[in-house]
């Protein structure tokens, strides 16, 4: 039973920390984008506008809840909750710090639940998260923009999930485990998997942006074509839950990137136990979170047919051929494998 109680305690801590992270990230995104475009960004509320996200959140709670007259009410309410629940469910299996061996010899894990098939769990809930988007589009009562946006987002997410799954297969082949902590342990005293699998690293990096729905693949919310995509009809806090979930997915995908390809809490030097591991891990994760904002401020958007071509005609055969190569190299035992 102690696992369940510890799980509940860790769940509350993770929920609060991720909510704080999302609040801070909205401020950070706006500030960094403003600086990239030679603007100032939020400035008035608090120190350099640091309280701005809090003010926005309070404001969105007091917003009137407008709903199209023909909307399917149940699905309309359920859709944002599905999106946020699946995003948080993925974050439950991510370790937030290296595991600690307590004095009694029990290993303490810093993930809410330490599953032995954590990666399958991640893919299960990434797949489910497309339901939140599709429900939002269908339940909006025949509104055009949500319907189009939901189809686009759904097709984009499932297309790039295959690329994501097949690129993560290479580190799994090399470590033969689906548990994040075991995979990180396999990279200790060893080169990181990004050096063995540069192709899988790059394909995961591209697919990561598409699955999170961020620039350059933020097709579903292409402002100039279909307004805000699948959440046009939403208002107030219900609308706020979609960007919320997106920020959680960005955090989780960056953490998976670091755990699978960049050695998790192993650093190139200074291997000093828990503190060093913690700092290395979060430096790397923070870099990838910043990369999302950086690319947002840098690249234009792809067209939808280009997006599908990249996914199905280029990335998919490359990942399949890469699995051929990895299996071949591991079987004959190449010197670097």
């Amino acid at each position: 039973m102690s696992i369940v109680i510890w799980g509940l305690i860790k769940f509350i801590v993770v929920l609060l920390l991720i909510s704080l992270y999302v609040l801070f990230m909205t401020w950070f995104d706006r500030k960094v984008l403003a600086r990239m475009q030679n603007r100032v960004g939020p400035k008035l509320i608090g120190f350099h506008g640091l309280w701005q996200p809090l003010a926005d959140g309070v404001k969105s709670i007091w917003k009137e809840d407008v709903m199209p007259g023909k909307a399917y009410k149940f699905m309309f309410w359920l859709a944002p909750v599905i999106t946020i629940t699946t995003a948080f469910a993925i974050s439950f299996v991510i370790p937030f710090a290296p595991p600690v061996k307590t004095a009694s010899g029990v290993v303490f894990h810093f993930s809410v639940v330490n599953l032995n098939v954590a990666i399958l769990f991640v893919f299960a809930f990434l797949g489910l998260s497309s339901y939140g988007v599709l429900y939002a589009g269908i339940s909006s009562g025949g509104s055009k923009y949500p319907f189009l946006g939901a189809q686009r987002e759904g097709a984009q997410m499932i297309s790039y999930e295959i690329v994501l799954a097949l690129s993560l297969l290479n580190p799994i082949l090399m470590s033969q485990s689906l548990n994040f902590e075991t995979i990180v342990a396999a990279q200790t005293h060893h080169l990181w998997y990004a050096f063995y699998q540069p192709v899988a690293f790059v394909t995961y990096l591209i697919a990561m942006f598409a699955v999170a729905g961020k620039v350059p693949f933020d097709m579903p919310e292409a402002e100039s074509e279909i307004c805000c995509g699948y959440f046009v009809e939403y208002s107030g806090l219900k609308m706020g839950l979609y960007p919320f979930a997106q920020y959680v997915v960005v955090l989780v995908l960056s953490a998976i990137m670091v755990l699978m390809f960049l050695g998790g809490w192993n650093g190139p030097f200074w291997d000093g136990g828990f503190v060093a591991g913690f700092i290395w891990y979060w430096i790397k994760v923070a870099f990838f979170i910043f990369l999302f904002t950086w690319i947002w401020g840098t690249l234009p958007r792809y067209r939808y047919d280009q997006l599908m071509d990249i996914g199905w005609k280029i990335l998919l055969p490359i990942t399949v051929l890469n699995i051929f190569w990895t299996g071949f190299a591991l079987t004959i035992g190449l010197p670097f494998f």
Partner: protein, 116 residues
Amino acid sequence: MLEWLSAGIDIVLVAVIFLLVLGLARYLAPKQHNPFKSQVYECGIFPVAEISQFNIRFFVIAIMFTLFDIEALFMYPWALDFKELGTLGVVEMFIFLFLVFLGWIYAYKKGALEWQ
């Protein structure tokens, strides 16, 4: 087993917490009814027609997704037991991958991946 129970409880809790927050926001928010507010969004003009059809391309993509996701699902257990299965397992998986890849080439030639 307990880990899965814990995960299940936590997932249900997240859903309940966010439903409660949404309910609270609905309770706090002002309600001023206006027939124009309950119209669908249409850039300021009156909505002409509802949309209920979708492009067949999305359906084709969904079928292709099923095919390749099952491929990925078959490969995860193989990747886990890679050492135990040995060379025979690798050859079998390569044959399977090759067949799926042939399916991809067929879909490509048939134009299932084209967006006009």
